[in-house]
């Protein structure tokens, strides 16, 4: 199981919707709001699903971009 922190960049006015959608995603925890357009998110998934998580987030209406800040793969190597 890999651990990543992502910054989800949110369109202005759509934060609540994006938080709601993120909360439904398995292995995804919204930790908090970094600034008015950024959500700090932790993803805990097997690495083979990490990319799917990013794709699912990008598909949320109002999620403009996803940045990765930190990725730990020590369980998998």
């Amino acid at each position: 199981m890999a651990i990543a922190s992502l910054i989800v960049h949110v369109e202005s006015g759509r934060t609540a919707h994006v938080v709601e959608e993120l909360a439904r995603m398995p292995g995804v925890t919204v930790h908090g709001q970094g600034d008015e357009i950024s959500l700090v998110v932790v993803v805990e998934r097997p690495s083979r699903e990490m990319d799917d998580a990013e794709k699912e987030i990008r598909a949320i209406r109002g999620a403009l971009s996803v940045s990765a800040v930190y990725l730990n793969l020590e369980d998998e190597l």
Partner: protein, 756 residues
């Protein structure tokens, strides 16, 4: 992993994210807790696109187990997921670990001596029988700077062959041609910091959101935080980038020369130009019979009369009002930053398109001020710092010098300790010419860190040459599944990314060090050492290659640069270890680097006592050139037989030919196969539904791909990415090249589709 460690790592991950946003809270104190168990952290640069994001690499047990964004580099700790997943690439199971030699039609393991001796013998035989023009080198924008500089020197100075080219010919050559023809020198004059000051972004032919995601976040954030910031996107596809546009111009593919001239027309007609600026710092020129002819501003105004918004609307498919609006947004902002990429470069008139963007900046004076700059985005991590700066293309010599110019050759002869007039005065073969001559004029070729058997346009044509029994192909490569290995006679296993040390130079002229974190697998070696060994065995004068490692090569290159306006003598290895990169020019060790070129007080290459504020020192008169470049069609326009335009590109999950991203299981799973994007109108007309198999056909071949029906492509346009080795889309593309840059027109060819 136990629960306690897992919690520590999560805390660290969260803290790193807050720190990247500049927010110091209770979590920040936890930032280092997840580092317990990490033996060491080393600093590097991402291995993917040309953004050049800084990464910190965490090592344990000889493996890279953790990656985080470097908070001290321009990316402020941010990465894209592709970059963060680099450990999966480094530790991929199909890494090459021993030299291979083809015997009985198969690549079989061999000793280093056997592989090196065989390669050296083949090159020496070719030169002895057919002259130095019969050997060549094909490099990459992914090589370290030291590797490109060294290979270029070995071939041009050691073997006297100018057949040195590389894959930046396929992606950046038109940008080089644009900068050189307009400003006299290559490389952008601004930096990423301009993104924080621009109030208008003019993004043309670049899907920044998917191809340079970290920069996209910076642009999108800027727009969200300042309501006065405007974004204009020119792209025939409704890309993710276009989602943030105030104005999206979905041009008919290949018509942006008309659009850009029409914008210049509007700017002059509505007197939005900066007459004081262009009157003093720009000259106006037209090419006539192959020679530049001086013209006046009034001549230019008359030239633009053909480009009224109404006339351009008929060519581009963009309403005249939107063209006017784009020109107004560009010219009336307080600071405009243009960004472009392959959409302008991969074209038969790519250099011209680049010139026309520069024209808009010169006419409005929106250049050389914070936020005002004309900035080409790069596709590879070291196309700029490696191939372009070191002059590792067939017509170039280091630091912007030209093979064809005697004084430039003489300068390099002196710097390299060669006899006067001993360098070969004839430019070598550029990429498609080189592979077109393989097995014929080119008898022996060395390929370093790139995958031409997949990335060349109209690739089937060149595959025949790769198969030729009259060629010898040696490849230095890290991965066993690269398409090009199918045709190699010798394969040298290379150390990859942080398995050796060296310098990358990104789009903003920033040189940064990738430090060594781990050992390479098996017998794989750093390419610098492979190149030196090969050179010595080929009989190259040992005084030309007195290098034990990449640091030695960097020191020579740094000193060589001091005689040019690229001067980065002050960027020592020691400084690179201490910092997360420095922007050249940087002539001395106490110089901080340069964020804005050509401006007195900013650029150390402009004398402090220069009488004018701007000095475009690349051109003899110190002025930048506004070129008259008429609209011309693409090499292959759609017609009755092939009524659609096929364009190619990248998707966020994969990078280029997929040799690296294809082995990250999570990425391969996400986008396992190529696809073709079709507009709903076209799909309806052709009775194609989403997911249907469709046959895409051009004059060069056909292939079957699953359809993605939607609104992304404008009607008449289809798109397919080029990462999938099982679906070589470049069997379909044209290999027509730009007359100036010799860059192929990947972006446009005529096609038809039918339900399979």
């Amino acid at each position: 992993m136990d629960i306690k460690r897992r919690e520590f790592i999560k805390y660290s991950a969260i803290a790193a994210a807050y720190l990247a946003l500049g927010k110091v809270n209770a979590f920040a104190a936890q930032a280092e807790r997840g580092s317990d168990g990490i033996e060491r952290w080393v600093k590097g640069v991402c291995r993917f696109c040309g953004t050049g994001c800084g990464v910190m690499v965490g090592v344990r047990g000889g493996k890279v187990v953790m990656v985080k964004g470097d908070p001290n580099n321009h990316n402020n700790g941010m990465l894209c997921l592709k970059g963060a997943l680099l450990p999966s690439v480094v530790h991929a199971p199909d890494r090459l670990t021993e030299p291979l030699v083809r015997k009985g039609g198969k690549l079989v393991p061999a000793s280093w001596d056997e592989a090196l001796d065989l390669t050296a013998r083949k090159f020496k035989e070719a030169i002895a029988k057919h002259g130095p023009g019969s050997v060549g080198y094909y490099g990459s924008g992914q090589n370290l700077t030291e590797e490109s500089y060294l290979a270029n020197k070995i071939f041009k100075a050691g073997l006297k062959s100018n057949n040195v080219d590389g894959n930046p010919r396929l992606c950046m050559a038109s940008a080089v041609g644009g900068y050189v023809t307009t400003f006299g020198k290559d490389e952008p004059m601004g930096s990423y910091d301009d993104m924080d000051a621009a109030t208008c972004f003019f993004i043309v032919g670049s899907n920044t959101s998917e191809c340079h995601p970290v920069l996209f976040r910076r642009i999108a954030s800027r727009k969200q935080k300042d309501k006065l910031v405007k974004v204009v996107v020119v792209d025939p596809r409704q890309t993710n980038t276009a989602r943030i546009a105030d104005l999206h111009l979905a041009v008919r593919p290949g018509t942006d020369l008309a659009l850009l001239n029409a914008m210049a027309h509007v700017i002059l007609k509505e007197e939005m130009d900066d007459a004081r600026f262009h009157g003093k710092y720009a000259s106006f020129k037209l090419m006539e019979e192959g020679k530049p002819v001086d013209k006046t501003f009034e001549d230019y105004r008359k030239f633009l009369e053909d480009y009224t918004p109404e006339k351009a609307a008929a060519i581009t498919g963009i309403p005249a009002g939107d063209i006017v609006k784009a020109a107004q947004l560009f010219a009336s902002s307080t600071a405009t930053m243009s960004l472009w990429c392959m959409g302008l470069n991969q074209r038969v008139h790519g250099v011209w398109a680049n010139n026309l963007v520069h024209n808009l900046h010169l006419l409005t004076g929106k250049i050389g001020k914070p936020g005002s700059t004309s900035f080409s985005l790069t596709g590879q991590p070291n196309a700029c710092g490696g191939v372009r700066d070191t002059g590792s293309l067939a017509h170039l010599l280091p630091a912007g010098r030209l093979v064809a110019k005697k004084d430039h050759r003489n300068q390099m002869e002196q710097l390299w300790g060669l006899e006067p007039d001993s360098l070969n005065p004839n430019p070598g073969l550029f990429t498609t010419a080189m592979f077109g001559a393989l097995g014929d004029k080119i008898k022996a070729l060395l390929v370093l860190c790139t995958n031409p058997a997949q990335s060349l346009p109209n690739v089937r044509k060149y595959t025949e040459n790769l198969k030729s029994p009259n060629k010898f192909l040696a490849v230095i490569e890290a991965f066993g599944d690269a398409e090009t290995l199918k045709y190699a006679d010798v394969v040298f296993p290379a150390a990859f990314w942080c398995e050796r040390e060296g310098v990358y130079g990104c789009s903003e002229r920033r040189y940064a060090l990738v430090e060594k974190a781990i050992d390479a697998p098996g017998q794989a070696r750093p390419s610098v050492n492979i190149l030196v060994d090969l050179a010595l065995r080929m009989g190259v004068d040992p005084r030309l290659v007195p290098f034990k490692n990449s640091a030695d090569v960097w020191d020579e290159w740094r000193n060589v640069s001091a005689s040019s306006t690229y001067n980065f003598k002050g960027i020592t290895r020691e400084r690179l270890r201490k910092t997360s990169g420095i922007l050249w020019p940087c002539p001395s060790e106490d110089h901080p680097g340069t964020k804005i070129r050509y401006v007195r007080g900013e650029d150390p290459m402009v004398p402090a006592d220069h009488p004018d504020k701007y000095f475009f020192y690349g051109n003899p008169d110190g002025k930048a050139i506004v070129w008259f470049r008429p609209h011309k069609p693409a090499a292959e326009e759609p017609d009755r037989e092939f009524p659609l335009v096929l364009t190619t590109g990248r998707v966020i999950d994969h990078w280029h030919t997929g040799t690296m991203t294809g082995k990250v299981p999570e990425i391969r799973q996400s986008f396992p196969h190529a696809f073709v994007e079709i507009n709903v109108e076209d799909a309806r007309r052709l009775n194609i539904n989403n997911g249907d198999a469709v046959i895409v056909e051009t004059r060069r071949g056909s292939m079957t791909l699953p359809a993605r029906v939607g609104e992304v492509c404008r009607p008449g346009l289809i798109f397919t990415p080029f990462f999938d080795a099982r679906k070589l889309v470049n069997e379909l593309t044209v290999d027509a090249v730009d007359e100036i840059s010799k860059q192929p027109e990947f972006k446009i060819c005529a096609a038809r589709i039918v339900k399979a």
